[in-house]
């Protein structure tokens, strides 16, 4: 198990890029080695699996060029493993930039991949997945095999998305990784703001600060309102236990606890990605790698 932190500079919105290799596992040429590459609007994720078990993964920021981001994150996931691109038997691309993953054998929607990946990470009891990505929010229902039964998506508004949170981090000068904790540092939960528009927040949040609100209180009022919006999306798709949150915002404890409160259920605990586990951000990439294995096997049966 290795971790290579890669922090570039101190901009508040900039989050840490990182990777894991489960080096206790060894790969052989005859293994079915597959990869999933999830090029999101904000983050690019890659996961490599050996015979359907996660072997290594990496998360990086998506650059202005999707094919480059796909290449970079995949080679990052392969770093120090001895694997070369040729060793990967089948690659599935997913996410917002899935059609721009040059090395992929097939593209599959991120909705299918997130449900499949959540099923792998948390097990077959998962029925509802809320994926909070960089530029959209999806509420997904699935069966015990991780197959999607229905979903709803909001890709029209930045409120609550990773990109929206990055704007708040810069605006309030709080590092993005601390934004969740900060939003919980209030004596009493303020009422949600009536207008969640991130563009208006640039002036409205300043108005609240001028009125004497602390940064934490401003953040709490906005986070509260965004969590209600996300909770409503889940309610509309129909909440069934177990419930999990994937995507970058699954690490925002301020969002997660408020969504739990809005829905009146707890999500399954976060996999211990810092210690030795799987990151909820790579659920889509894992799902893609699982599909890759199935597709490879299907191609070789016939």
């Amino acid at each position: 198990m290795k971790e290579t932190p890669k922090r570039e500079n101190a901009e508040y919105w900039r989050w840490e890029e990182y990777r894991r290799v489960f080096s206790e596992k060894k790969w052989k040429n005859k293994d079915i080695i597959t990869a999933g590459v999830d090029v999101g609007s904000v983050g690019s994720k890659a996961a490599i699996m050996i015979d359907g078990e996660v072997y290594s993964w990496g998360i990086m920021r998506t650059g202005s060029n999707s094919p480059d981001s796909a290449r970079k994150v995949l080679s990052w996931a392969m770093e120090e493993t001895g694997l070369r691109l040729d060793d990967l038997k089948y690659i599935v691309g997913t996410g917002y930039g899935r059609v721009n993953v040059p090395m992929s054998n097939k593209a599959i929607t991120e909705i299918a991949c997130h449900a499949k990946g959540a099923n792998y990470i948390w097990g077959p009891s998962v029925r509802t997945v809320l994926d909070v990505g960089g530029q959209d929010i999806k509420a997904i229902r699935c069966d015990e095999t991780g197959r999607v039964t229905s979903f709803l998506m909001n890709d029209k508004c930045a409120a609550g998305t990773g990109r929206g949170m990055e704007v708040f981090a810069d605006l309030l000068q709080i590092p993005i990784e601390k934004i969740g904790e900060s939003s919980l540092k209030v004596d009493e939960e303020p009422p949600p703001v009536s207008c969640t528009c991130v563009a208006f927040a640039k002036t409205e949040a300043m108005g609240l600060l001028r009125k004497g609100w602390s940064k934490e209180k401003v953040l709490a009022a906005y986070t509260h309102a965004m969590a209600i919006r996300m909770g409503n999306l889940v309610k509309r798709v129909g909440l069934e236990k177990e419930f999990v949150i994937t995507g970058g915002q699954s690490k925002n404890i301020g969002i997660v606890t408020r969504i739990e409160k809005a829905l009146g259920v707890k999500c399954l605990p976060m996999p211990k990605w810092r210690e030795n586990g799987l990151d909820p951000m790579i659920a889509g990439a894992i799902g893609a790698a699982i599909f890759a294995k199935a597709l490879y096997e299907k191609a070789h049966k016939s």
């Binding site: 508004c157 990109r163 969640t196």
Partner: protein, 259 residues
């Protein structure tokens, strides 16, 4: 009879003075942090131009999002009510008034007396208001007032999927990287916004004549895009940003008569 209307908008305050129901002067100032002070300035400017003093005014009606902070006001009127009144005063056949301001957009359905019958409003989202064009102009590094004329030079439309200012900023950057020309990007921005406004108006029903007012009605790029999306002609008064204040001043006339 002298009446005044004050429209306290999020970005600017407008004032209109009427003498016996006819416009004799206008005044404008930036809202800033003190809307009350800004309104005093706007009214002061209009009175000065009309060579009148506040004591000459029989009734002051305020409107706009900051109407509660209006100085000297005797009464208030909703923004939709003011839009309807002004729209029909300016164009007697007007039945749909679209008002696009800095932070809000509205469409009002009215009768031949300028009475509001129904309305739809886009608030709480910057993508359907002037703020959208402002943010996109910044991303494109073009002055706001140059956006409209620039967009008219576009030979084709390159559609963007901007439904949010925050996402729109990155869409514009992507288009710049793709080396799309600035006129085409500008046109895409106006088209995206006109799309939103047009679907809002469609929820209300497009009843001709259609009148466009508010600060954004001065933008030739937005006007062109909106006409294309609505597929009807859109009438624009000479001073579109004063429509709210005009409507309020006309309401004030009625209120003086009633007393």
């Amino acid at each position: 009879m002298i009446t005044a209307g004050i429209d306290l908008g999020t970005q600017s305050v407008k004032a209109v003075i009427l003498k016996d129901g006819e416009v004799i002067s206008r005044g404008k100032s930036f809202s800033g942090f003190d809307p009350t002070k800004a309104a005093e300035q706007a009214v002061g400017e209009a009175l000065k131009k009309a060579k009148l003093s506040l004591s000459d005014v029989d009734h002051v009606t305020a409107t706009g999002s900051g109407m509660d902070m209006a100085p000297h006001s005797n009464s208030t009127i909703s923004m939709m009510g003011a839009d309807a009144k002004a729209g029909v005063y300016l164009f007697p056949k007007a039945r749909t008034i679209i008002d696009v301001g800095a932070e809000e957009a509205r469409a009002v359905k009215c009768d031949d007396n300028g009475i509001m019958m129904d309305f739809v409003v886009n608030e709480r989202c910057a993508a359907g208001a002037g703020a959208f064009i402002e943010a996109m102009a910044r991303a494109l590094e073009v002055k706001l007032e140059e956006m409209g004329p620039l967009s008219l030079k576009a030979e084709r439309a390159s559609p963007i999927n901007a439904t949010c200012v925050i996402f729109g900023e990155s869409d514009v950057v992507t288009l710049i990287h793709r080396q799309e020309s600035k006129p085409e990007i500008a046109r895409a921005i106006f088209d995206a916004m006109a799309d939103r406004i047009s679907s809002m108006v469609h929820r209300l029903g497009v009843n001709p004549d259609v009148v466009l007012v508010g600060g954004v009605a001065k933008d030739v790029g937005f006007i062109a895009s909106l006409k294309r999306k609505l597929c009807v002609d859109v009438l624009i008064p000479e001073y579109p940003e004063y429509a709210g204040a005009l409507g309020a001043a006309l309401i004030a006339v009625n209120r003086v008569k009633k007393v």
